[in-house]
């Protein structure tokens, strides 16, 4: 038997312990805790369709996994996911992947729910996820802006440029704030002259 994803630690437990989130901590007629743990573990291994070096849990898209009893006493896995961007075209794929994986693991009834509030933030990408991004040559996001009041207009060069994920040079330039997927910007490195993608702060 080959472990599907020999991820260290228990990152898939993150969504379940996210105190204050509406999808967690509700008083359910819970199935045995073991089923919940197993379902969370399976869901925690499902990867992002567009950035497959990350699990949905690493990306912060997986917001909760609960096992509840359905009307006739059967186990129902309720998975909550949140879109990174409103137009994210990968939501249906994420849902299908979650359903397939959980079905394969013996959970016959799976419901995938969309959580819109609170909106996804790049701050939710786990440390493990950031390391996986770097290892794949992608630049992880810096801290998202926290502000009260109107969003300021930025007409100059935006924010601090991230260091090159390949050579580490701090001398990088923004090419475009829009990239191959909604969540990435394009940069180029003046040190190694390679272009790279940066996961945007939102």
């Amino acid at each position: 038997m080959t472990p599907a994803h020999p991820a260290p630690g228990r990152p898939h437990d993150q969504p379940r312990t996210d105190a204050g989130h509406p999808a967690t901590g509700r008083p359910h007629d819970r199935a045995p805790a073991d089923a919940g743990r197993r379902a969370a573990e399976v869901a925690g291994h499902v990867r992002d369709p567009e950035m497959p070096m990350l699990t949905l849990a690493d990306l912060g898209v997986l917001r909760g996994v609960d096992v509840v009893r359905g009307d006739s006493g059967e186990e129902v896995v309720v998975v909550s996911i949140t879109p990174t961007y409103t137009g994210c075209p990968a939501m249906a794929t994420m849902r299908d992947d979650l359903v397939h994986r959980l079905n394969d693991a013996g959970f016959d009834r799976v419901e995938v729910r969309v959580v819109l509030d609170p909106p996804w933030s790049s701050d939710w990408i786990s440390e493990q996820g950031r390391a996986a991004l770097r290892a794949a040559g992608l630049s992880p996001p810096g801290p998202a802006a926290r502000r009260a009041g109107p969003v300021p207009l930025t007409l100059g060069p935006p924010r601090t440029a991230p260091p090159c994920p390949r050579c580490g040079s701090p001398d990088t330039r923004l090419t475009s704030e829009f990239g191959a997927t909604a969540c990435k910007a394009l940069y180029r490195c003046a040190g190694c002259l390679e272009p790279f993608e940066h996961v945007k702060e939102i």
Partner: protein, 335 residues
């Protein structure tokens, strides 16, 4: 990715062949079936990457779409159509830029912005349908078209509630920069306020939208400045686009009675309340660009009625003809 190719093989397993409880977490394996194809390993050996979903889902699955107390479902639906149609029609115009921008980066930027707005439109139209199913056009029995698609593809021009700025035909690159600056400046100000509204779906869509539209406004503001301070030709084109589009700006901040009513109910935003902020942002862009605020009167409506009332320019009909033709030809089609 240390997963071995073939260790997970969804497609080959019959439903029910895995007994509940028989599979150890993290060791999903189905009889060691090895597909051995040239595509193995392309996506980290994770076969789920090939299971790209194609079917539609309810974009508001699991979201509480109860209409807030004291709000009429039909009014809320009409309001959602206004905000959703702005995004949908603007997205369609931006999509027309695909493969036509001056360079690849800007082509991708415009497509990204179109996608963000399409996502907002989808949620807003779905919210409209949930608030009042009566707004959804009737389709043949058994049609698989979800409500938000029925609203996008099976309504006539008079049922669209978007501002006319979104629908006028595209021009040159300066034109799309100016149009997007005017549009996103007003939309960002609106979404910032809508976050505090009493309708949970609208507030959540707005909270996400603020983050997205902030990027749209920055993109268009930077290009406005670049074109204004660029060459004589780029400045000439920018000023021409600004002159052509300015008469449509006022409609973005002109309140429709329905918008006022929903603002009073604590659900919507009165566009008139955006004027100060919108003017300040535009003044900032114009000042750094060395461009005077145009002195052009707003484009009149028909008997005072404008886009929010379903009164449009002929450009909308042509846009809809193209956008809707395939869906209308195949109302029972599956995609």
């Amino acid at each position: 990715m240390s997963t071995e190719p073939g260790s997970i093989a969804h497609g080959s397993v019959q439903p029910g062949s895995v007994q509940p409880g028989s599979v150890e977490p993290g060791s999903v394996e189905h009889g060691g079936i090895d597909h051995g194809s040239v595509f193995d390993g392309l996506l980290g050996g994770d076969s789920s990457q090939w299971a790209f979903g194609t079917d539609f889902e309810d974009p508001l699955a699991g979201v509480d779409t109860t209409t807030p107390d004291g709000v009429d479902g039909a009014e809320l639906a009409a309001y959602c159509l206004m905000l959703g149609d702005d995004a949908l029609i603007m997205s369609q115009r931006l999509s027309e830029w695909c493969s036509r921008a001056p360079d690849l980066e800007e082509d991708i930027a415009l497509a990204n912005i179109a996608l963000d707005l399409l996502g907002q439109a989808r949620l807003l139209l779905a919210r409209a349908a949930a608030a009042d199913p009566g707004v959804v056009p009737a389709l043949p029995e058994g049609s698989p078209v979800p409500p938000e698609d029925a609203l996008a593809f099976f309504r006539g021009d008079r049922d669209f509630r978007n501002v006319r700025l979104a629908e006028v035909p595209n021009g040159d690159f300066a034109h799309v920069v100016v149009r997007l600056l005017l549009f996103s400046t007003a939309r960002l100000a609106l979404l910032e306020r809508l976050r505090a509204g009493r309708d949970h779906v609208l507030a959540a869509v707005a909270a996400k939208g603020v983050k997205e539209v902030a990027y749209h406004r920055d993109w268009s503001g930077r290009w406005f400045l670049t074109l204004a301070r660029g060459t004589d030709e780029s400045r000439r084109r920018l000023l021409a686009a600004l002159d052509a589009l300015w008469p449509l700006q006022a409609e973005l901040v002109a309140p429709h009675p329905l918008e006022r009513s929903l603002a009073e109910a604590g659900v919507g935003v009165d566009p008139a309340s955006l004027r100060e902020e919108v003017d300040a942002v535009l003044a900032q862009v114009l000042a750094v660009s060395g461009v005077e605020r145009p002195d052009r009167a707003p484009l009149a409506g028909v008997g005072g009625r404008t886009g929010r009332d379903g009164l449009h320019t002929e450009a909308l009909s042509l846009l809809l003809a193209e956008m809707q033709v395939v869906a209308r030809a195949h109302p029972e089609g599956r995609w």
